[in-house]
Amino acid sequence: MTQTSHLILCVDDELIGLRVRKVLLERAGYRVLTAMDGASGLRLFESEPVEAVVLDYSMPGMHGGEVAGRMRQIKPSIPILLLSAYLGLPADVTSLVNLYMTKGEGAPVLLRKLETLLQPLNTP
């Protein structure tokens, strides 16, 4: 594959969940950066050429909504997919991100949604 694979940033405080998600995305052909909390996630987001973000909502310190808000200030065009274990998220949070989904919907849904987000990049 001559086309360089997309660089994805995964932020989640759940260690196992993060590790599994990283393997999953790598198998799907993405390059994956991981961060365990919002602050380190933002640092990576700023320094690396991240193309999409898979962000967990509930995290200690800074929750997903806040992290997404900062990211929008830094690089407003980068698509963000918000993951949450909660069913209902506040509207001001969902309006910040491109897509959101509930954890447990399964890997195919995650991969499909991520693909949709990267679509405009794939078809220039």
Partner: protein
């Protein structure tokens, strides 16, 4: 006019006539005494006249005896002469003594005695001697001499009698004057006293009647005031939302207001006069046992009787409402119970609302927990489902082992969480032995993620198993609520300390005897609760969390702790250096479950 003034008037009205009559009687006595004295003098005069008569008769006897002897010369005819002659000196003496006080009369009597003596010595005795000697006594000159002597005597007697009768006439005149004076005085005194008493009585009666009139006026005004006050109270009673029944000391209904009539189902007119228990039938809501009426209780305890909980009132149509009631004694001036006032209200709706609120809070707690639990379960589930997806796509042996291992760990986490959850809503009818150590650790486990989210450090010091008898689900609700409050108050970077320890029986700081039990302390270092807010903390619908809170958490928690016979206390400091809030919950080891609360 007061009572002592009135009594004085009564006394005067009695004393004055008595004094007046006594004075009248005194005057009359004095007058009558004067008249009596006069009568006495008249009687003395009568005696004197009679005595003069007696002396005259004796002298006549002497003269007659002498004349008989003169004529016959027979000694027997001298008998009357001798008898009279023997008696006369004494009778003269008597006459003299009767006339002692009158010099004229004394002179007359003395003269009479001398004249008589002269007649006797100069005429009678010589005549007798002459007759005895056999001489003749028919000499005219001698007899004329005797006659002239006797005439002297008669003249004297006449003078004495006339003098006495004259005196008598004067005295009788005097007596008549006295009697007339007496009558006049009597009439004058009677008139005077009558007018005096009349005037006095008139003035006194005036005073009494004006006092009476003003009393009547005051009474009228009082009656009007009492009427108005009664109207005011009646209107108040009719307008208030609680049922009010008043009873006399024997427990018979005297009055009931419209609300009481509506609640009991008895019309006011038919209830008045009936014994209270006929109209106000109350039973225990749960046991259906009749309850002593507040009136009987007030009569027994002679004090205000407070609200009895779980009281149901059986209405006239046999339907039933839940009520809260209280009774208070009405005391008379001596402090005896003269009646009872009974106040009660329908709490059926209140109770339903309360039950609905409790259910609502339970649901809210359950809802909040469900969200936490969903989060706790969704995370491992997500990992497991991703792992399964990866394994389906084929793995190396190493990867397989690694994936299986991770899936197992995530599933173990789910199991642990679901176990903790199981205990949460297991309802039980009776308290069961509970280990507070276990309960608190389960709650902390479930909330772990929430603490991380909030950025709160939680430390716990619950050294050994602490057993109490309780309803575990309810205690979980209480501690989840208190720990959540503490964590939210502490905020990011804050700290929550939870400690629990067994307490032996003893006396607490307030001096109350406490049974053995457990003390759980939940402390945070948040900004503290201001004094303005503190009094409202345990009130329903009071919240500082805006949309996120129901305002029922602490209210319900306190209800549950009280139901467990325990206490819940809150101390807070908003100071610069040592701010924070400490909630202490005491639970008895073997509580008497108090179902009347909550």
């Amino acid at each position: 006019m007061n009572l002592s003034q009135f009594n004085r008037i009564l006394q005067q009205a009695l004393l004055l006539p008595v004094i007046a009559l006594l004075l009248t009687a005194g005057a009359l006595y004095w007058q009558i005494r004067g008249a009596n004295e006069t009568v006495g003098i008249i009687q003395t005069t009568d005696v004197r006249i009679a005595q003069a008569g007696l002396v005259a008769k004796l002298i006549v006897d002497e003269e007659s005896g002498l004349r008989g002897y003169e004529t016959t010369g027979d000694e027997r005819f001298l008998q009357p002469f001798n008898d009279a002659g023997n008696r006369l000196p004494a009778e003269f003496e008597k006459l003299a003594s009767l006339t002692d006080s009158d010099p004229q009369q004394r002179y007359n009597v003395e003269d009479l005695r001398n004249e008589h003596q002269t007649w006797r010595d100069a005429f009678a005795l010589p005549i007798i001697s002459l007759v005895r000697a056999g001489g003749h006594t028919s000499d005219v000159n001698l007899n004329l001499y005797g006659k002239s002597l006797m005439d002297q005597v008669r003249q004297d007697i006449e003078a004495i009698t006339q003098h006495a009768e004259g005196r008598r006439t004067v005295r009788i005149g005097q007596w008549r004057r006295q009697v007339r004076n007496l009558l006049e005085a009597l009439i004058a005194i009677a008139l005077g006293m009558g007018v005096l008493i009349g005037l006095f009585m008139r003035s006194r009666l005036h005073a009494v009647s004006s006092a009476y009139r003003s009393s009547i006026e005051i009474l009228g005004r009082r009656a009007e005031e009492i009427f108005q006050s009664e109207q005011r109270l009646r209107t108040t009673l009719d307008s208030i939302g609680d049922g009010v029944i008043t009873c006399d000391a024997s427990g018979r209904i005297q009055m009931m207001n419209p609300v009481a009539a509506e609640l009991t189902g008895w019309a006011q007119t038919e209830a008045v006069g009936l014994p209270l228990e006929n109209v106000f039938k109350i039973i225990n809501e749960h046991t259906r046992e009749p309850i002593e009426t507040p009136v009987a209780k007030v009569m027994r305890l002679k004090t205000v009787v407070g609200l009895a909980s779980h009281t149901a009132l059986i209405r006239k149509d046999m339907t039933q409402i839940l009520i809260a009631d209280s009774g208070a004694p009405v005391r008379d001036q001596t402090g005896e119970t003269a009646g009872i006032v009974l106040v009660f209200r329908d709490i059926t709706m209140e109770r339903r609302t309360q039950e609905a609120l409790l259910a609502n809070e339970k649901l809210a707690v359950a809802g909040r927990l469900a969200a936490t639990i969903a989060h706790e379960i969704h995370n491992p589930l997500d990992s497991v489902s991703n792992l399964l997806y990866l394994m389906k796509g084929g793995t190396t042996e190493d990867e397989f082992k690694q994936f299986i291992d991770m899936a197992e760990r995530e599933l173990a986490r789910v199991t642990q969480i679901s176990r903790a959850m199981l205990g949460l809503y297991r309802e039980s009818k009776a308290p069961v032995p509970v280990d507070l150590h276990e309960i608190l650790h389960e709650i902390l486990l479930l909330m772990e993620h929430r603490f991380q989210e909030l950025g709160v450090t939680v430390t716990s010091d619950i050294p050994q198993p602490i057993g109490v008898d309780a309803f575990p689900a309810e205690l979980r609700q209480v501690f989840t609520n208190l720990i959540t409050n503490a964590a939210e108050a502490a905020g990011s970077g804050g700290e929550v300390r939870i400690s629990a320890s067994s307490l032996p029986a003893g006396i607490n700081s307030a001096g109350n005897k406490m049974p053995s039990g457990a003390l759980i302390i939940i402390a945070d270092n948040g900004s503290g609760i201001s004094e303005k807010v503190r009094p409202h903390l345990f009130q329903p619908f009071f919240t500082t969390k805006g949309e996120r809170g129901t305002g029922l958490g602490l209210w319900v928690s306190r209800g549950i702790v009280h139901k467990h016979g325990g206490t819940i206390d809150l101390a807070s400091d908003t100071g610069e250096s040592a701010h924070g809030t400490i909630v202490s919950v005491f639970l008895a080891e073997k509580p008497t479950i108090n179902t009347n609360v909550g």
